[in-house]
């Protein structure tokens, strides 16, 4: 489905370059469309394509047949049928699976993830949001915000979608009333601070009649913002972090001849240049980029989203699953990861569960460790301790891996901070994971330098995880013994003083106790550290 090219400057030179200039320089916007069932999502998307003149004649013919509207004006057709997929779904008259749609205007190519509204299909919504730059959220002007609306907005924001567009639909049914629109906007803004750093745009539309979809509505002159298509065509899509550090997960080692050894992958962060110092993670070997090889020639730099082949100056050991990272700003490496988990499996997720994890191109065995918390998306993301997560729930937990992996926090890098869990028996993809922190392993003493948490959820969780973490270094055990003793001895002194009424006696009891009990506590702690019993 394509739009006509117009405004080509000079028809005489319309050959190769003009055509390419017009299309090749287009940017790409991935967005997800979501909303409660019957709020008009299919109608709106269909309308968008129709108004943008992207619906082809034979599709209109099929539409007429499918809807039984063999006569009548084209404008009155039910465009929601354009987006009606599998025949099973047609029988049930609902969109049950995530579908991808494509359209292009003169400015942009759009990839639309069309997500079903029902709560039981939230996994499709989460999947669609994982790669989206923008989420289009449908709200019915008559019924207002629903729990699903909040849920969808929270999921989109959690998955790193930067722009929300709230389309208040069916404005024709509320007489295009400004106050009805304003009430919904106010309602939405009440919980918007939970969404963190996202831009939110509200647009009053009528999918049925086409108001503010592509053309300005003559019925809502009070609205001064962009139409839906304007918004989609102009929203900023430059890669989020031009200042991200270089990252590339090695997918494949290319060895076509004895003297060529290249590492293939897609750049997941930052930019790479020949001569740059990099670190191979998790092994920690350092080396430099020798060249950036592509079939189009050797590049002098390459950025996020490019698939390249890198050669290195030293003969270091690199294989699939390794992460190549900027030596000055490496990823965290750990065999313990704290993460937000979206559980999509049939059963429940609980501590003790064992899964395969795929993080970037690396695989490992993962053991779910406690503590586990539920993030209640119906309750504005409140966090409560739980012993299991049910299907379609978001939660927090720690994963123990059978080997260390390199990872970044999800809010720093969507690619190196995300993973999936795979069920070892059914081989299904059962969970999406967003790295909160790669918990520092037992051997490392240096703390993570950057501990700035952007989300409230993140802050709370990392603190909880730190408090309850099971790995303890010796230094840490000693430090804990001391702090505990200081507290304990103060207590002993106070009790001694209250009972004896004599500060000197109380002081000497507390003083001796410090020395003996620090040693005892340390021994006790280390003995416990050797006992696996009762650990999760």
């Amino acid at each position: 489905m394509n739009m006509h090219v117009s405004g080509l400057a000079n028809p005489a030179t319309l050959e190769r370059d003009a055509i390419l200039y017009n299309h090749e320089t287009k940017s790409l916007l991935r967005f997800i469309a979501c909303g409660s069932v019957d709020h008009g999502k299919s109608s709106l998307l269909g309308r968008l394509l129709f108004e943008a003149k992207l619906v082809l004649d034979d599709q209109i013919e099929t539409l007429r047949k499918d809807s039984g509207q063999l006569t009548g004006a084209v404008e009155d057709l039910d465009f929601s049928l354009l987006f009606d997929g599998l025949s099973a779904e047609r029988e049930q008259k609902i969109t049950i699976d995530l579908a991808y749609r494509f359209f292009a205007t003169e400015k942009r190519k759009f990839i639309v993830a069309d997500a079903p509204g029902h709560e039981q299909y939230t996994r499709n919504m989460a999947t669609g949001a994982s790669t989206a730059d923008l989420a289009l959220i449908l709200v019915n002007a008559q019924s207002g915000l629903t729990q699903q609306t909040r849920r969808h907005a929270l999921i989109a924001a959690t998955l790193g979608v930067r722009h929300l567009v709230v389309a208040v639909n069916k404005m024709d049914l509320v007489d295009f009333s400004q106050s009805a629109f304003a009430a919904i906007e106010t309602d939405f803004r009440k919980f918007a601070d939970r969404l963190g750093d996202v831009s939110i745009t509200f647009i009053p539309v009528s999918a049925r009649k086409g108001d503010n979809v592509v053309n300005r509505s003559p019925n809502m002159l009070w609205y001064r913002g962009p139409t839906l298509l304007d918004k989609l065509e102009t929203v900023d899509v430059t890669p989020r972090a031009a200042n991200e550090a270089f990252r590339m997960a090695v997918q494949w080692v290319s060895r076509p001849t004895a003297d060529f050894r290249g590492y293939c992958g897609m750049i997941a962060g930052g930019e790479v240049r020949p001569g740059m110092e990099i670190i191979v993670q998790p092994s920690g070997q350092r080396t430099r980029i020798d060249s950036i090889v592509t079939a189009d020639g050797v590049l002098d730099r390459a950025g996020v989203g490019r698939s390249v082949t890198l050669t290195l100056t030293d003969n270091v050991d690199v294989s699939r699953g390794d992460l190549l990272a900027d030596a000055a700003a490496p990823s965290q490496v750990s065999d313990r990861i704290s993460a937000r988990i979206f559980w999509m499996g049939q059963g429940t997720l609980s501590p003790g569960g064992r899964y395969h994890i795929k993080l970037g191109t690396a695989s490992a065995a993962a053991n779910i460790a406690g503590p586990m918390h539920l993030i209640d998306l119906g309750q504005d993301a409140t966090i409560t301790p739980v012993d299991r997560l049910m299907n379609n729930e978001f939660g927090l937990c720690t994963l123990e891996l059978d080997r260390p992996l390199a990872a970044d926090r999800y809010d720093q890098n969507r690619e190196t901070g995300s993973f999936i869990l795979i069920d070892a028996e059914t081989h299904d993809t059962v969970a999406m994971g967003l790295v909160e922190d790669a918990v520092i392993p037992a051997v490392a003493v240096t703390p993570a330098t950057d501990t700035v948490r952007t989300s409230i959820v993140g802050k709370v969780f990392v603190r909880v995880a730190r408090l309850l973490g099971a790995n303890e270094s010796h230094t840490r055990s000693i430090a804990k013994a001391m702090s505990w003793r200081a507290t304990g001895s103060l207590d002993t002194f106070v009790i001694g003083f209250v009972i004896t009424g004599n500060a000197a006696i109380a002081g000497s009891i507390a003083g001796t106790e410090i020395l003996t009990k620090v040693a005892l506590y340390y021994c006790h702690e280390r003995v416990w550290a050797l006992v696996p019993w009762g650990r999760r």
């Binding site: 390419l20 082809l56 499918d66 996994r123 790669t131 999509m344 999936i420």
Partner: protein, 308 residues
Amino acid sequence: MNDISLTSGTTHSYLDQLEAESIHIMRETVAECEKTVMLYSIGKDSSVLLHLAMKAFYPGKPPFPLLHVDTTWKFREMIEFRDRRAKELGIDLMVHTNQDGVARGVGPITHGSELHTDVMKTQALRQALDLHGFDAAIGGARRDEDKSRAKERIFSFRNSHHRWDPKRQRPEPWRLFNAHKRKGESIRVFPLSNWTELDVWLYIHRENIPVVPLYFAKPRPVVNRGGVLIMVDDDRLPLEVNEVPQVRNVRFRTLGCYPLTGAVESEAATTEDIIRETLDSRHSERRDRVIDKDGSASMERKKQEGYF
């Protein structure tokens, strides 16, 4: 090719992004599967797929063979093109034909499009995959081709009977593909999932990718059968009494078995012309395929039965 995209890491047009993602998908496939094959149907999508494979593994060759399922009813120019390209690129090309179907004399004219497609294409493909034990087959299908494809995953699983179960699809968040197979399962991988017909032509144009000349308009002998222009490619097409092939300036938007593929009248003789024609077109490309007319939900059914 375009200088801007070569030296700059940040200005990245959408075609560059589509290319990079397709390459990523192919590399994941070979890395995660044991025995990969690329299905090569000789059409424009296959040409793009092959070009991407050459780029993905450059300076090496793609680490998998090409497989063409030959129904014996392809246009002659397709077969010539296939053999020439395989030789030029120096890659391993396998051709499989359902010999059982040949022995039974199955063809589109005698047995109808549905049976012919089932025996010579669907079953033939299964035979070839089983024969060589391929666990992953890369194909050129795009999601914009029809409604059921729009919901298909990039890594799409088939059970041991090569059937697709639309209800058992795995979620594919981010770019994390799960290639773990259950017993007997195999995977169809679709690196062009997010490309449209226009994207394919723009890319062919940008990269100078050779395609079968049948895509370009030229005077060709055709007969008009119920509004569909069928090219008389060889003497196996029985002509009705009084039916005389007419020479018309035609081209093909999609290529398949010649008696099942409709030509369109066109003046588009270059890739630029085709891009302009595609931009102006008021019809989707599948309209010209006879097999899709078997029923509205037929493509979904065919796929469940193992059609690619």
